[in-house]
């Protein structure tokens, strides 16, 4: 899994509580082959999990992605899958993480749901 910037993510990064930001960021890009092999159709969700957490995202076909790689726009959904280890330089691995991906009927949590139960 790699996370990174997209134009829509950047345009929405100062309105994070908006539905535009949700639509731009709570998505998972997959190669056309992986999309097909998971039996996905456009708009269907995928569950991603690894040792750090699990998150449901809307699947999106991306012809530019190699097989066995997923891309998630940077932000709170992608960061559920990121660990805290910083290799002695302060920066966690936001890219190059191993994740398991499967089709799911579970819904994508909106930004308030994603943080509900955390903190105050």
């Amino acid at each position: 899994m790699i996370s990174g910037r997209t134009l829509a993510q950047g345009a929405g990064c100062e309105s994070k509580m908006s539905t535009d930001f949700f639509r731009a960021v709570a998505i998972c890009h997959l190669s056309e082959k992986d999309f097909k092999s998971l039996g996905l159709s456009e708009g269907q969700n995928v569950l991603l999990k690894n040792e750090f957490g699990q998150v449901v995202l809307t699947a999106k076909k991306d012809a530019g992605l190699p097989d066995s790689m997923v891309f998630i726009p940077m932000g709170p959904w992608a960061n559920v899958l990121v660990g805290t280890e910083s290799g002695g330089c302060g920066t966690p691995h936001f890219k190059g993480l191993e994740v398991e991906v499967a089709a799911t009927d579970s819904p994508v949590l909106n930004i308030r749901e994603l943080f509900s139960g955390m903190g105050a």
Binding site: G75, T84, C89, T91, K95, M118
Partner: protein
Amino acid sequence: MSEAIMIRDAVCSFCGCLCDDINVEVEGGKIQRVRHACRLGSSKIMGHARIESPMIRKNGVLVAVSFQEAYDNAAKILLAAAKPLLYGWASTSCEAAKKGILLAEEVGGVLDSTATVCHGPSVIGIEEKGLPGATLGQVKNRADTIVFWGCNPAEAHPRHSLRYSSNSCGKFTPEGREGRKIIVVDVRETKTSKNADKFIRISPGSDYEVISALRMLIAGKGESVPDEVGGVLKADLADIAATLKAAKFGAVFFGLGITHSRGRYKNIDNALSLVAELNSHSKFVIMPMRGHYNVGGIGQVLAWSSGYPMSVDFTRGAPYFNPGETSACDLLAKRDVDAALIIAADAVSNFPRATAEALADIPVIQIDPYENPTTLLSDVVIPCAIAGVEVEGTAYRMDGLALRLRKMVDSSFPSDEDILTGILESVHKQRQLAANEGA
């Protein structure tokens, strides 16, 4: 309704490009139209729904208070903490950063910037090797060969190519894109790679190996390079090495594809060595693609005032810098800070989940124009004016050039600098009161 005015050649305060040709139409005290800005800059300048009032959390709910009450509560949290974290600083002015460093020293905290989850590894690599750098103007006017490594400016810095790099026309580069060779190295196809003459797709986490192979080829030791490195054929690497050596003026731009991946600061160290060695054959420069518009500025202000560019611990009486120990994510992961002030950044969104959870367990002060997930966990929320739109100030472009941000419209909110001054004054006042009571 007052007459419309046009503000010309203002600086965009979104990304590290700091485009300084932005025209803004203002009428009735409101921005009506933005010209020349990209989608990111327009979105920033036109604005979004704001936090309307300072707030403090009472019985689990954020309630509106006066600015003074918010400053007093913030000061109380910082004074009660043994080791507060003061984090963010990338999307505000250098003047605010200067005030924040004073506050960190005063309360004995750790000050870190968003570089720590971004180009922090670049900062460390540059400290180890030095930076063969240039201004973006030099690249525009002279570069005939440009490498984009692990970055996608078409989406993160949309006007970079037209104003400064691949597609710009300069004094000695009048043909623009036609006169340049563009190489893109990435693990996936991007909008940037579609504009390349040569796209090299490498395996994830293999940047260090690929850079090392290029160094060997450039040094004439190709016989030591295996047939394939990082998923790239040796013949393709030899082709790239020859192109780089033949450049009259080459520039490497690199992004988080290389800092966020396996190798981290060692990748940067290696890339800096590659560029230093290329200078035996040609003129070559290298530059990190800084994301937030003034993440370079906080590094500059911290460096000249403390000696270190990020992750500075002021709890010991003298500045102390040890990334991995004094960096924000590590401090939170180890639960080594007991309060946080988050300014001009959204730590809760942009940190790993476990780190955000650590923030949820300590008192948090937020200074920001906009509601975001950090607001959901904050105990004190202080809305501010937007630097570069409602307040002037100084910011550093990705090449280290300082530019003056303009004020486009008035704001009813105080600036970040004003807010930090208010908190600092409250810290002094509360300390004096405590001293008087103890006397």
